[in-house]
């Protein structure tokens, strides 16, 4: 195998394609990604899923069909004579206990709406049971089943579920990529400094990381999210990243410990390069593989952690979050399990994509870590 390849690389051997490294960058990229797809089909599948999620997030305005915050309403049908009679009885002698019946919810009669304006008791009853409906003659499409208009149905507030799932991908990407970036940047910095200088600096950083790892991660996350009222999604990404710093530091540290024994580091030091230059120009490029691996394989875990946080109501209160939507689906109850099913599937597929791509990348870049996790956990 290796012999064949070197034969191809020989210059001047006619009829055999030129070496890949002579080709333009785009061609090399295509060939490399093609080889990746063939040798790691699961990883290829993951990359495709990620591409789809990124596409959905970037072009959400185009493919979402509706505004994700719009509550959909339909005209209520006019009431039948029988229903009008029932509604009229309800408000007639003021002061008696009112029993509303389903008809009030499903039909609209302008005359009765007028009466309701002047009849405090009737209006009170109607607004508590079915907010702002008697006056407008509109009905909010609450948790509708899937239809041609609303592909996946609607949620608790009558918003289009398909649109909301599409927009939810934006938050998932911001959280996943943002948190992983924060963890990798700070973790790499700490890991390099800690391992390069060693001694008491290493000791202090390591004990600090030990204490971070002894700190139950989800509780640390809860504390961090409570340090501000209503954290934004950007801040959440930073908090999640902080929780993940200890893992990255540990991985980077062990990589640097190996790299700083290398001859090229010694050579750089011999010619008088200062510490910062050695760390940035000589060590950092050589520990890039584990950094990329821990970056990609942790993204899924951060997305899951944010979803869990939003699920218990502690996420970004204004963002469209899949975790929050699963919780809304749960509140729809066992008769309407579809919303939770759809949203959870979107979450699962996205995390699956990042996990598969991360695993494949790890196998290619850092085979020693194979099957050993190396993923942030919550």
């Amino acid at each position: 195998m290796a012999q064949q390849q070197s034969a191809i690389d020989l210059p001047g051997s006619t009829g055999i394609p030129r070496s890949l490294s002579d080709r333009p960058f785009m061609v090399r990229l295509l060939v490399h990604s093609g080889r990746f797809m063939v040798s790691k089909p699961l990883g290829g599948f993951g990359v495709i899923v990620i591409a789809l999620v990124v596409f959905a997030a970037l072009s959400a305005d185009l493919i979402s069909r509706y505004d994700p915050t719009e509550s959909f309403v339909v005209d209520k049908p006019a009431c039948t004579a029988e229903q009008v009679k029932q509604i009229a009885v309800v408000g007639d002698p003021p002061g008696r206990t009112i029993e509303t019946h389903p008809p009030i919810d499903v039909c609209f009669d302008p005359v009765l709406a007028e009466i309701a304006q002047d009849e405090p008791l009737l209006r009170l009853e109607l607004t508590t049971k079915s907010p702002d409906r008697i006056q407008t003659g509109k009905r909010t499409l609450i948790s509708e089943s899937p239809s041609a208009d609303h592909w996946l149905g609607t949620d608790l507030s009558g918003r289009d579920l398909w649109s909301r799932i599409i927009y939810g991908s934006q938050l998932a990407l911001v959280i996943g990529l943002g948190a992983s970036l924060v963890a990798v940047v700070f973790g790499t910095l700490l890991g390099i400094v800690s391992a390069y200088f060693g001694g008491s600096i290493d000791m202090v950083v390591q004990r600090l990381m030990d204490s971070f790892q002894a700190f139950p991660p989800f509780i640390l996350l809860l504390l961090l999210t409570q340090t501000v009222d209503n954290p934004s999604k950007w801040l959440l990404a930073v908090f999640l990243g902080i929780v993940g710093v200890a893992l990255v530091t540990r991985i980077v540290r062990s990589a640097v410990l190996a790299a700083r024994q290398e001859v090229y580091v010694l050579a750089a030091r011999t010619i008088g390069a200062h510490d910062v230059r050695i760390m940035l120009r000589h060590i950092l490029p050589n520990i890039f593989s584990p950094i990329i691996v821990v970056f990609t394989s942790s993204i899924g875990a951060y997305i899951l952690a944010e979803a869990g946080l939003a699920f218990i109501g502690l996420g970004d209160p204004v963002a469209i979050s899949w975790g929050k939507m699963v919780e809304e689906g749960r509140r729809l109850g066992p008769t309407k399990p579809l919303m939770a099913l759809f949203v959870g599937s979107a979450l699962t597929v996205t995390v699956l994509g990042f996990n598969l791509a991360g695993d494949a990348l790890r196998d290619v870049l850092d085979p020693r870590l194979r099957g050993r996790g190396g993923r942030a956990g919550f």
């Binding site: 204490s211 399990p337 597929v349």
Partner: protein, 324 residues
């Protein structure tokens, strides 16, 4: 060996002190305090003049020791900690660890049931998947484990709950949350759902790890020797291969065990289980910081010592490992 243990224990002490410091400063930067969170909604001070109200709040703060500067509070707190005094809950004046003691049976039961599901599913499946590599059961199990790792466990629990109620499979005692020794059947009907949802996820992780370890070990020379000596498959797999493949798996199971004590905030909220996670969320929201601090310190102490225990366990499984 003895020296090793002593050194490890000594290393753990500054780690725990650092955790105590971290949680102290994390709780001291939380916006608002216990007095604002709880007492402003109190009717007796609602109807007083603003000046009276301020006076009352200041009195309560002084009572709880919240009016000292942060640094003073920090030294008082560390001093108390040195005497193993975790302070009292702001909410009712009980020792701060009381809610922890109340919550731990629920959390322990949920955690142990989850661990049981994880181990029972992962170990046999991991072995089977490795010794029948690239057969169709192997593919099915691998796809399943990849999926199980990607599914949010709260979502799995939600779907199980919704469909159990929808198909009236059994009644979930979500308001009474009985413990196993109080009402075994009802307890399993409630705790079984989060235990399965959490167990298959952590089981999938363990299974993948065990599978890859087994595959590595099964290629070793001593396995070939064992086969050549004519040993039965059962002996080769369990005595020779499994014992060597288990070391990273034990780490993984050990870390899961250590994490149990922190409770599962999401499951405990979803199923109304008054465990450790549920109570710490409550305490964080109410800014009952003495409770939060004591919880975190106890959990962290437990985790570092379980980690030490795992490291020592290695020696039992692999006599080649020397402690120095």
């Amino acid at each position: 060996m003895q020296k090793y243990i002593i050194r490890r224990v000594l290393i753990n002490i500054p780690v725990i002190l650092l955790v105590a410091t971290l949680v102290f400063f994390a709780t001291s930067v939380l916006p608002g305090d216990y007095v604002l969170q709880r007492l402003t909604s109190n009717d007796s001070i609602e109807n007083s003049t603003p000046a009276q109200r301020e006076k009352h709040l200041a009195d309560v703060r002084a009572d709880l020791g919240l009016d000292d500067p942060v640094v003073i509070r920090y030294f008082k707190y560390m001093g108390n900690l040195a005497r193993l005094d975790f302070g009292n809950s702001f909410a009712n004046g009980d020792p701060a660890l009381t809610p922890f003691r109340d919550g731990i049976p629920y959390t322990a039961q949920l955690g142990l049931m989850t661990l049981f599901v994880a181990i029972v599913t992962s170990i046999p499946i991991g072995i089977l998947s490795a010794i029948r590599q690239d057969s169709w059961p192997d593919y099915v199990l691998r796809v399943f484990s990849i999926l199980a790792l990607a599914m949010p466990n709260f979502w799995v629990a939600t779907m199980l709950l919704l469909y159990i109620v929808r198909w009236s499979l059994w009644e979930v005692p979500i308001t009474t949350h009985p413990l196993l020794w109080e009402d075994p059947l009802a307890s399993i009907r409630l705790f079984g759902i989060p235990a399965v949802a959490g167990g298959i996820a952590s089981g999938a992780g363990i299974m993948r790890l065990l599978r890859s370890q087994m595959l590595e070990v099964l290629r070793q020379d001593y396995i070939r020797t064992a086969w050549a000596k004519g040993m039965r498959e059962r002996v080769v797999i369990t005595r020779h291969a499994l014992k060597n493949a288990m070391i990273p798996v034990i780490t993984s199971i050990g870390l899961t065990t250590a994490a149990i004590i922190g409770g599962n905030v999401v499951f405990e909220s979803l199923f109304n289980i008054p465990g450790v996670g549920f109570k710490i969320l409550d305490a964080i929201r109410a800014r009952d910081i003495a409770v939060v601090q004591s919880f975190v310190i106890v959990i962290a102490t437990f985790i570092v010592f379980v980690n030490l225990g795992i490291d020592l366990l290695y020696g039992l499984f692999d006599p080649r490992i020397q402690y120095s």
